[in-house]
Amino acid sequence: MRYIPVTEKDRKEMLIRCKADNIEQLFSSIPDDVRLKRPLNLPDAKSEMELIKYMQTIAAKNSNTGNYACFLGAGAYDHYIPSVIGHLVSRQEFFTAYTPYQPEISQGTLTAIFEYQTMICELTGMDVSNASMYDGASALAEACVISSSASRKKSEIIIVEDMHPEYRETAETYLKFRGIKHASMTVEQLLSADLTNTAGVCIQYPSFYGDIYDMDRIGKYVKENGSLLIVCANPVALALLKSPKDFGADFVVGEGQPLGMPLGFGGPYLGFFACVKEHMRKMPGRIVGKTTDVDGKTAYVLTLQAREQHIRREKATSNICSNQALCALMATIYLSVTGKEGFKQVAKRCVDNAHYVYEGLLKTGKFEKVSDLPFFHEFTVKPKEDITALNAYLFKYGFIGGHKTEKGWLVAVTEKRTKEEMDEFIKRAGEFNG
């Protein structure tokens, strides 16, 4: 047993000290009728050599984005991950530590989270950020729950239609079980909707289909009607696009995966959650604050814990405990490496590449526009051919194609795509005849 350092001799000595005749005696409180009388039916233990070979074989059955050029997005994006991130987050001090309950020996994690909170505030324009949520969808769901209780007069939530379908479903699950009413509508409907009972309006920015709406107009309408504005934003887009603060957001949440996390078949990712100061004491999850120690030295500590489950139990603002601290660290390192200029360059390159591919696809005559609104690094077009067949065709030529949606083919283009890849992608997509 490689990971169990207690020897047979130790075991005997230890049992004597415990005043037990054998190991079995230590388990005497477990009644016989709930005992498992057979070995667990699991594969026999594998040695390290066998194990690595076995798992490599399984991994090799997957076609990965290292070998295929990825034009798929829809909530998870194939950005370049600087080498530095993997090296730093693998440091055991970060990697194998628990939640920083003992601040005297957790200043590494606490300092990094404080930096992370600052960066998220900078990107979103919000006053405060928490230490992270599970992912973008659950961050959105928690923002909906908190918004619904922010005012005594209003409690309903509106989710604008072009929200990522899985985010919508997640929010709906959270709201349904809390008994909170919610509705769905288009942006046009929203702009003339009666918001008397609406506590909060959620909108994705850019939308699931890639559209960048006139957020000033939306923000103005929502605020004038006394509702809260919850913006679910792509963090890379925030490098260039108008800050949600400037169109009146109260909460800005989103998926932080594009900030240095691998696609990883969907996780672990990073939910970011930020808001204006007014809602600070209702935020879910961990929050790090600055303080001093008894010698007056600057230090960081988990704070505002009176919101949390270990203090408030059923009255806590959320049940979240473990979150995605290491992913928040990845984002912090990513935003440090790319920095003020580099992060804008990444965003700009995504925009340029995406518009190049968009124009190229339209020129083939095999795709139609579905929107005249501006987009960031992802757009929807309507192919003349069947999307599943088109993607299968592209796969043969080394491409992971776009996502099949209700409105068409959702294509994402990041800074990683070379001109050769994009030209070939456009050519193959244009030549496909189903």
């Binding site: 230890m14 009728d33 984005t65 001090e93 699950t173 078949f265 303080t291 049940n319 994009m422």
Partner: protein, 479 residues
């Protein structure tokens, strides 16, 4: 004094470069763009490496030393798991790739579901929840869906023991339940009479950790299950303490209906300073239809994501869960095998009893009998006789190079200290820890101030947490 990364910033520095662009530039209309740049740091790659390396040195991880943090199962995180989780065939997969491109990934997830079902005795599983509390919420929603599926709308309450983790009542509240607390009896177990008197037809179920948070096995579990089931309720298993019973007893056989596991505890995945965790939920057969969608399934054509689930509670997050975390857990289970897992539980229990035996001369043990994988001592002797609190003693442990145990939990123990050594610690480590604990007991007697003022040797000393909460400074600001 450690600087923040922002203080290292200097205009013109950058740790990043892109290849030359070969496509035309696209410009947005001004009305769509930011008025002001986000103030991210401008630093060199060496700055980044040194900064994060230096702050990391003010942390304490399992690779450094003993971490007997009760209820958190801080066992060694095998390095092999990391190598496997870094294979490009897992890391570089987009969650929306068609199933035929990701058969390996789906197989890994499917196998893990099967293994977790075998370990818990259950029939179906979801790997979607991202952490323990997320699993609890999911599990309680499943219980609610079960009752509502039977057109039973009168159940509005969920019972939790007074020794439960705070996440239990908080999670039940997220599913819309009112909380009823059941007290513990003088043996530290669920008070059966009290339970009988509060369990009624308006109660949806009972959430229980077994062994419980005192490290004691609920020997009456069959009786408890009967009381709950007879009234039409379901029994929820909080898997926080599963490390005590793998291969020895299974939640299903005890009468539990829904279980969550913490892969970042029992299955050795690293905690990362507060996540990512993974909190899969396993259920008995008739509850499978309520699992969040999609469920990873298998037919003659291979593995697939089953979205066609009308009675599902819905989704609790996007995609399929913390995939790379559960790859690590799968690797661990395959490394340990059935005998290894059982041995892990046996050794975890032996190690906890060994420490308890070693410190009981100097500390009060409120429930003095064999414990499971952890035990709770009370610092009441030290507090009452010398004015030294459990917090003081925990802080003193920092001076001796340990991560302190969990303190003041469960709340039913006065000045409680919850010690969980796990199976990956050697007798030598335990002997040293016992010696230090006894030394601290002596220090409490002889020099209370030494403890009141501890820690003395850490990078920072005790913090002013009151000031932090009263006057929150939650971000860096430019001077």
């Amino acid at each position: 004094m450690a600087e923040l990364i922002f203080n290292l910033s200097k205009e013109g520095k950058c740790a990043f470069s892109l290849p030359e662009s070969q496509v035309p530039s696209y410009e947005f209309d001004n009305k769509y763009t930011r008025m002001e740049d986000a103030q991210l740091p401008e630093v060199s790659e060496v700055d980044v490496i040194r900064h994060f390396t230096n702050i990391s040195r003010h942390n304490y991880g399992v690779d450094q030393g003993f971490y007997p943090l009760g209820s958190c199962t801080m066992k060694y995180n095998p390095k092999l798991n990391e190598d496997v989780a870094k294979l490009q065939g897992f890391t570089a997969l987009h969650p929306y790739q068609p199933e035929y491109q990701v058969q390996g990934a789906l197989k890994a997830a499917y196998d893990l579901q099967q293994y977790l079902c075998e370990i818990t005795g259950m029939s179906g599983a979801t790997l979607q929840p991202a952490a323990g509390a997320h699993g609890e919420m999911t599990g309680i929603m499943i219980i609610k869906a079960y009752h509502q599926g039977r057109k039973d709308y009168k159940r509005t309450k969920m019972i939790v023991p007074d020794s439960a983790h705070g996440t239990n009542p908080a999670s039940a509240a997220t599913a819309g339940y009112d909380i009823v607390q059941v007290k513990s009896d003088d043996k530290g177990l669920v008070d059966i009479e009290a339970l009988s008197s509060i369990m009624d037809e308006e109660t949806a179920g009972l959430m229980l950790t077994n062994p419980n948070t005192l490290g004691l096995f609920e020997s009456n579990i069959k009786k408890i299950a009967k009381i709950v089931h007879d009234m039409g309720g379901l029994l929820y298993y909080d898997g926080a303490n599963l490390n005590a019973i793998m291969g020895i007893a299974r939640p299903f056989d005890m009468g539990f209906d829904v279980v969550h596991l913490n892969l970042h505890k029992t299955m050795s995945t690293p905690h990362g300073g507060g996540g990512p965790g993974s909190g899969p939920v396993c259920v008995r057969k008739d509850l499978i239809k309520y699992l969040p969608k999609p469920v990873i399934s298998k037919n003659n054509d291979g593995y697939f994501l089953d979205y066609d689930r009308k009675e599902s509670i819905g989704r609790v997050r996007a995609f399929y869960g913390n995939y790379l975390v559960y790859i690590r857990a799968l690797t661990y289970i395959l490394t340990m095998g059935p005998e290894g897992l059982k041995k892990a539980s046996e050794t975890a229990v032996l190690n906890a009893n060994y420490i308890m035996a070693g410190v009981k001369d100097n500390f009060m043990i409120p429930y003095d009998r064999f414990c499971m994988h952890e035990f709770v001592l009370s610092g009441s002797n030290q507090k009452d006789n010398y004015g030294v609190s459990t917090l003081d003693m925990a802080k003193r442990l920092l001076d001796y190079g340990y991560h302190p145990p969990t303190i003041y939990f469960p709340m039913i123990v006065h000045e409680g200290m919850m010690i969980e050594p796990t199976e990956t610690e050697s007798k030598e480590t335990l002997d040293e820890f016992i010696q230090v604990m006894n030394k601290i007991a002596k220090e409490a007697e002889e020099d209370a101030d030494l403890l009141h003022n501890s820690p003395h040797t850490t990078y920072v000393r005790r913090l002013d947490e009151v000031a932090a909460a009263r006057n929150p400074v939650l971000r860096w600001e430019k001077d």
